[in-house]
């Protein structure tokens, strides 16, 4: 390779890498900031009342590394009453209404599924036997997993709402998350008797 071409190659590559790094460094800070601020006070407790905006309550649980936070129901700008976040146990959300006799209506929280990159707890809102909303409370090991989770949750939510069941395809690049998500979802649907 001629010096000129070598120089151009190195310059182009360096430019790409720096550009990529900059984009990457700017893309996630919001999510990180949220988890940082919220994870400190709320260790394993619920932070309810916040109606469904993204990144509400979250726990600092997970693998002890870096106190990594989590996204709260990144999927939705959805209804959802208070967002629970079981540390890793399977406590149903206190804010959720219990099924009140009539054919499957209300909110149901599935068991927390633990996967290698974090945990997933799915909550479904059911009205007259129809799934009207799904939200997921996720903890993630690190910010990349968190980002993958957020993306996967959004896609899975759409799929579940249209399929009206847990019988949907896994999300590419987020196999573990999809697996855990669907497990927790199935548990919630079982509670609802769907």
């Amino acid at each position: 390779m001629r010096t000129r071409a070598l120089f151009a190659s190195v310059t182009a590559s360096a430019g790409l890498l720096v550009g990529g790094w900059q984009l990457g460094a700017q893309a996630v800070p919001d999510a990180v900031a949220i988890s940082d601020t919220t994870s400190t006070p709320s260790t394993g407790t619920t932070s309810s009342g916040n109606s469904g905006t993204t990144g509400s309550g979250s726990t600092g649980s997970g693998s002890g590394t870096t106190g990594s936070g989590s996204t709260g129901s990144g999927a939705s700008g959805a209804t959802g009453t208070g967002t629970t976040s079981g540390s890793s146990a399977t406590s149903p959300a206190p804010a959720a209404q219990e099924p009140s006799g009539q054919a499957a209506s209300g909110s149901y929280t599935g068991s927390t599924a633990t996967e290698r990159f974090g945990t997933v707890t799915v909550k479904v809102t059911v009205a007259d036997g129809k799934i009207t909303d799904v939200s997921a409370d996720m903890t993630a090991r690190d910010s990349r997993s968190q980002q993958i989770n957020t993306r996967a949750a959004a896609l899975l939510r759409t799929e579940v709402l249209s399929a009206q069941s847990a019988d949907v395809t896994m999300i590419s690049g987020a196999t573990y998350t999809s697996d855990a998500y669907l497990t927790s979802l199935q548990a919630a649907l079982d509670q609802a008797g769907l």
Partner: protein
């Protein structure tokens, strides 16, 4: 250095006359040569820049997609390094496949043999990157989960079926790379090696599932997805078109078959072939094809052979020496045998010209391509020198033909026969080497001249070194080497 001694051995009366007033090819102006050469150099630069940048782009896309945050803890850093190694390896595997895909732009820019040489040199780094990919990720996941690498490997193996395929793919890559090491490769017959090399496709296929599930290469909503999809589609379709469709169509269109097999010298035959519209093959002297003689005993064995005569007069010819199992069957190929071809390939031809004057140097079986070049190159009478080299005068096949062509086109011919020198490393016969002769004894000047060298590897390197010493610029030395 040059003592003015008469060059040794039979020196054919050097005909300088331009008897062939009908010298078919009109030489281009030196300006045109320079322009073409500059265009090729620019193409080469762009291809190089694109290749290096593609690896950088693969990493940059990962970083931009969140990877930039992943160096905080030892576990995350290990995992990220593993991912980056895998991404670069994947990118380079695509580059390797493209280098072997016979893309016309690659062939016309760096030539088929150099493309394959580069393909081979990338093999080891890619293998190391793939191994690093597996190692770093296993370590990273293991540290994170607090288990040792062995336990982590067990978990990965059991986790998803895709990972099993990934391990199989890695094992296949190792097999392919190891069998392609020069030392190992020589131990296998060509067919066996080629069959193993085809496993590359299986290795690539086996590694794809985990790129979708575990890896983020195709994660929806990312820029990576589009980059990798584009690269995969481009690589796959290039292979399909240029390694399969084009050769099959060329073969069907021209319907080439053997017309005659001519004895040239002990163990050397010329195979003449006829076919439809051979001029449309657009094969230049000095180029080669992969030939597959479709007889029951050898249809599976493609042979790379240069033309030993141009494609004019509705005929096409190669000259072949018996070098053992594969080529010995060629000695007895029957007239009428159908021939499948891939090609033409290579820029050991007019395509590579940068200068007006030419020097052609051939030895052994390399004399064949020199013969075809002599016929095809553009030059003015008196501005070409041809040097033929053989151990014995009787091995100098095609000699009469070449002498005739030299007369008609006005090229000076030197025929150097004699055993090689054992004490001095020289491409000349021992007597000439002992006299201290070198290229300058046969070529008036390196200025404004192009040199084409074709022969066995070691010999070719000696001529090329001599030419460089004599003052031929790097870009004006072209060679094609035969190795076994």
């Amino acid at each position: 250095m040059t003592t003015g001694t008469v060059p040794p051995q039979p020196l054919t009366p050097a005909p300088l006359l331009s008897a062939g007033s009908g010298s078919a090819v009109e030489p281009a102006s030196s300006n045109a040569y320079r322009q073409r050469s500059r265009a090729r150099a620019a193409r080469r630069d762009w291809l190089g820049i694109a290749t290096v940048s593609s690896a950088a782009a693969a990493v940059a896309l990962f970083l931009s997609d969140g990877g930039a945050h992943q160096f905080g803890s030892p576990a995350a850093a290990l995992t990220s390094l593993g991912i980056i190694a895998g991404l670069v390896a994947t990118d380079l595997v695509c580059v390797m496949l493209l280098l072997a895909a016979r893309l016309p732009v690659v062939d016309r820019t760096i030539g088929h043999d150099r493309a394959l040489g580069l393909h081979g040199r990338l093999g080891k780094p890619v293998l190391y990157l793939l191994l690093a990919h597996g190692m770093f990720l296993t370590l990273g996941y293991g540290v994170d989960a607090g288990v040792d690498p062995v336990a982590e490997t067990g978990q990965l193996w059991q986790g998803f079926g895709d990972m099993v395929w990934a391990y199989i793919g890695l094992a296949l890559f190792v097999v392919v790379a190891v069998t392609s090491l020069v030392a190992v490769r020589r131990k296998f017959p060509y067919e066996v090696w080629f069959a193993i090399h085809l496993l590359t496709y299986a290795a690539v296929a086996a590694s794809i599932p985990h790129q979708f599930s575990m890896g983020g290469l195709f994660a929806p909503g990312t820029a990576q997805r589009w980059y990798w999809l584009a690269l995969y589609v481009f690589t796959g379709s290039s292979l399909l078109v240029y390694r399969l469709l084009v050769p099959v169509l060329t073969t069907l269109r021209h319907g080439i078959r053997v017309s005659n097999v001519v004895f040239e010298a002990p163990g050397v035959v010329s195979i003449e072939m006829i076919g439809r519209k051979l001029d449309r093959l657009e094969a230049a002297g000095g180029q080669f094809f992969n030939w597959r003689f479709l007889a029951s005993n050898q249809w599976w064995h493609p042979h790379p052979f240069s033309l030993s005569a141009g494609t004019g007069q509705g005929r096409i010819r190669i000259t072949v020496r018996n070098l053992g199992s594969g080529t010995s069957r060629l000695m007895h190929v029957r007239p009428g045998t159908r021939v499948a071809v891939e090609g033409p390939y290579g820029i050991f031809s007019e395509e590579a010209r940068t200068q007006e004057r030419v020097v052609l140097v051939g030895s052994g079986i390399g004399i064949g391509p020199i013969r075809a070049l002599l016929e095809d190159l553009t030059f003015r009478p008196g501005s070409a020198v041809v040097i033929l080299r053989a151990s014995r005068a009787e091995d100098m096949f095609l000699h009469a033909e070449i002498a005739d062509l030299c007369r008609r086109r006005g090229a000076r011919l030197h025929v150097l026969a004699g055993p090689r020198s054992l004490d001095v490393p020289s491409w000349l016969p021992s007597s000439a080497a002992a006299d201290g002769l070198d290229l300058s004894a046969f070529v008036p000047s390196a200025a404004g001249a192009e040199i084409y060298i074709c022969g066995p590897t070691g010999w070719t390197d000696l001529v090329a070194a001599d030419a460089a010493d004599f003052g031929f610029p790097h870009d004006s030395i072209h060679y094609e080497r035969f190795s076994l």
